[in-house]
């Protein structure tokens, strides 16, 4: 079972990222759960969302305390919260940032493995808005292979309708540009 | 004192404690509440029907002769008919024992 935690700010699409990841996994015939952090947080506040993916039926409804993967949609969260909290020893943090993994490691003292992508720039260039959730999904899949890139297309099209293509473009660019 | 139990077996109550016999309040005769009763002198009556209209019981009816009468099974003796009568046809008279 793989457990993923998404960090973002209310309105940035962390919850949507989690949902799309779970839907893609379920589409592959796997079992998955996606759930938000159920808080009273509003637009702008730091929020989290969670995903479990497994080949077996998932028989737990605990919150996620020791994720395998953490995805951070907004680089400004790094100085505010410990994004790597509880991360398993072999876990990975997937991060939206203009900086290199080494810069991040020394600046924020993160010891975990890192995958980075300049998602904000990609989102601006492909969609014209700094919404990074689908871009980060590209980075997540590239760096972890937790689901197949193909299985994200269907849920993404269903969710975004007419703007799905732009999101897919951003997603594919992140697949190419993520470094880890 | 007799032991207090219900009047109807629970098995025999209609579903949802519903009353299926609509309007069966008529089985209950409120005439026993009356301490005075309307007595009519139809010589004065010009059959306007005000008594019928204003009776809170709805117990005043028109007979085949065109004159009105109160159904004393229900009349509570409020005296509204006498009060509202235009022609002083109706007098309220104490009930005798």
């Amino acid at each position: 079972m793989i457990e993923i935690r998404f960090h973002g700010r209310g309105g940035q699409g962390a919850v949507t990222s989690a949902e799309l990841t779970a839907l893609a996994a379920i589409g592959e015939g796997k079992y998955a759960q996606a759930f938000p952090s159920f808080g009273p947080e509003r637009r702008g506040a730091p929020v989290a969302a969670f995903v479990r993916i497994s080949n077996e039926p998932i028989r737990t409804r605990e919150k996620i305390y020791n994720p395998d993967i953490v995805v951070v949609l907004d680089p400004t969260l790094l100085g505010i919260i410990d994004v790597a909290e509880g991360l398993k020893s072999n876990g990975i943090v997937v991060l939206n940032t203009k900086k290199s993994p080494d810069e991040i490691k020394s600046e924020f003292g993160i010891k975990a493995r890192l995958a980075v992508v300049d998602a904000t720039r990609i989102a601006m260039e492909t969609m014209g808005i700094p919404i990074t959730n689908t871009t980060l999904l590209g980075a997540l899949i590239k760096s972890t292979g937790v689901i197949s890139p193909l299985s994200i297309e269907e849920p993404l099209k269903e969710r975004f309708g007419p703007i799905a293509q732009k999101n897919l473009d951003a997603f594919h660019r992140a697949l190419a540009e993520t470094t880890f | 004192m007799p032991k207090e139990t219900g009047k109807t077996r629970w098995q025999d109550l209609p579903i949802g404690f519903m009353i299926t016999d609509a309007g069966n309040a008529a089985e209950y005769h409120t005439g026993t509440w009356r301490s005075q009763q309307p007595v009519r002198n139809n010589d004065r009556c010009f059959r306007c029907g005000m008594c019928y209209l204003f009776c809170p019981e709805g117990c005043i009816h028109r007979g085949p002769d065109g004159y009105f009468f109160a159904d004393l099974r229900y009349c509570k003796g409020c005296g509204i008919c006498a009060q509202e009568c235009w022609s002083d046809t109706i007098n309220m008279v104490e009930e005798t024992e």
């Binding site: 949902e19 779970a22 839907l23 996994a25 379920i26 589409g27 079992y31 998955a32 759960q33 996606a34 759930f35 938000p36 159920f38 009273p40 998932i58 028989r59 737990t60 409804r61 605990e62 919150k63 305390y65 849920p155 | 207090e4 219900g6 009047k7 109807t8 077996r9 629970w10 098995q11 109550l13 579903i15 949802g16 404690f17 519903m18 009353i19 299926t20 609509a22 309007g23």
Partner: protein, 400 residues
């Protein structure tokens, strides 16, 4: 064809209501019930559900309109949570008395105060004695399935009572997970077409909700109680038929590795799955632990429950609501009461856990099992205990 889809549990619930082709949905929004009624209102707006969605001004009016609609002969659905259910309470009491088969989903949430939007069972336990059929769901599939089953149960002429389908707020309501969704044709092979058993009819006028004088009141209550008790048989029949139709089998009481278990964890709702994981873990350590899960809460399945716990030494009974100053939480008091006269009955240690969104983890179940055994060894039987309480660490360490 049934489709396995990733779907939010609330949306799956709304889909079941759509398949039941309800006529009237009076509803007032409250977290965490909102997604269910939002989706129903959308289905009505799109013409995918031919129903009147009444956006009432309160939950009190939601239940009032529900009863009016059911009395007029409609199939009615509503949903609520917590404060909304509490505000409804007065009218909740009247639904069984009028024998109106309303289906209501309750996305369980703590009752204030302090105000909390998160999950526990204090809202539903306050409605425990209202005369409704009450069932608890463990996962999204069950929410979808039992919402369908609910219509068949309550509209059965032997029942004609309202039903609450309970699902844990957020923990279930906001969870996206794989659920097998039936199509209309499949659903129709199971669901009976709706026809009101009685209704307000201008051609056959009746009076509903008359005054119950002391000469009749006790018998009216007896009739309502007998109807509720009798509903168990129908619930069982319907679950059986659902299982035969779709291959998903449900019982009024479920067990997991309970056979021969020395310790039984007793749960209701979505924490049951976490409890199973905990049991698997403890079994690898050689602990004889099993799970009994109550699905049908009202009418309480006494025989099935007693049979399920037979032979156990101790029950770690988990309540998700506090009975302040009482002898046990609402579940434990039921359980103790129905075991009281049995020889060789297991001890019942009552833990109050998961209040107002507090997580109940695998480790918590391990702790509760340890403590239940610890108390049994020591011969100490506290009425009930809240667990995971800051300030009670010393006590909690005792049994570790």
């Amino acid at each position: 064809m049934a489709k396995r889809v990733g779907i939010e549990v609330s949306i799956a619930c709304a889909e079941a209501v759509r398949l039941a082709n309800v006529d009237v949905v009076p509803a007032y929004p409250i977290t965490p019930q909102t997604h269910i009624i939002e989706d129903l209102s959308q289905l009505v707006a799109e013409g995918e559900l031919d129903a009147a969605f009444i956006p009432v001004e309160s939950e009190h009016s939601a239940m009032s309109a529900a009863l009016g609609a059911a009395a007029a002969g409609a199939r009615v659905f509503t949903a609520t949570s917590s404060q909304g259910l509490a505000l409804m309470h007065e009218i909740v009491m009247l639904a069984p008395s009028l024998r109106l088969p309303v289906v209501m989903v309750v996305a369980n949430r703590a009752l204030s105060g302090p105000i909390s939007i998160w999950n526990d069972h204090s809202d539903i336990m306050a409605e425990r004695d209202c005369g409704w059929v009450q069932i608890f769901c463990e996962n999204g599939q069950e929410v979808f399935d039992l919402t369908l089953v609910a219509f068949n149960v309550v509209e059965d002429e032997r029942v004609l009572l309202p039903i609450m389908v309970n699902l844990d707020g957020f923990q279930l309501s906001h969870m996206i997970e794989p659920i097998e969704i039936l199509d209309q044709e499949e659903a129709d092979t199971y669901l009976r077409p709706h026809k009101a058993a009685f209704r307000l009819d201008v051609d056959n006028p009746t009076s509903m909700g008359p005054v119950g004088l002391p000469e009749y009141f006790s018998e009216a209550k007896m009739a309502a109680d007998m109807a509720l008790k009798g509903s168990k048989e129908v619930v069982e029949e319907e679950l059986k038929r659902f299982g035969e139709t779709f291959g998903r089998h449900y019982n009024v009481v479920e067990t997991y590795k309970a056979e021969g278990a020395e310790v039984i964890i007793l749960t209701m709702g979505s924490i049951s799955e976490t409890a199973m994981s905990a049991i698997d873990k403890m079994r690898t350590w050689g602990k004889k632990v099993g799970l009994v899960r109550i699905r049908l809460w009202r009418p309480f399945p006494i025989e099935e429950f007693v049979a399920a716990v037979k032979g156990a030494e101790v029950i770690a009974c988990i309540d998700r609501a506090v009975t302040f100053g009482g002898t046990a939480g609402p579940v434990a008091s039921e359980v103790r009461s129905c075991l009281y006269h049995l020889p060789g009955k297991p001890a019942v240690i009552n833990f109050v856990a998961g209040l107002g969104g507090r997580d109940v983890t695998v480790d918590d179940f391990v702790t509760m099992v340890d403590r239940a055994q610890h108390y049994l060894r020591k011969g100490i039987f506290p009425p009930y205990e809240l667990i995971n309480i800051a300030g009670e660490e010393e006590k909690e360490a005792e049994s570790a």
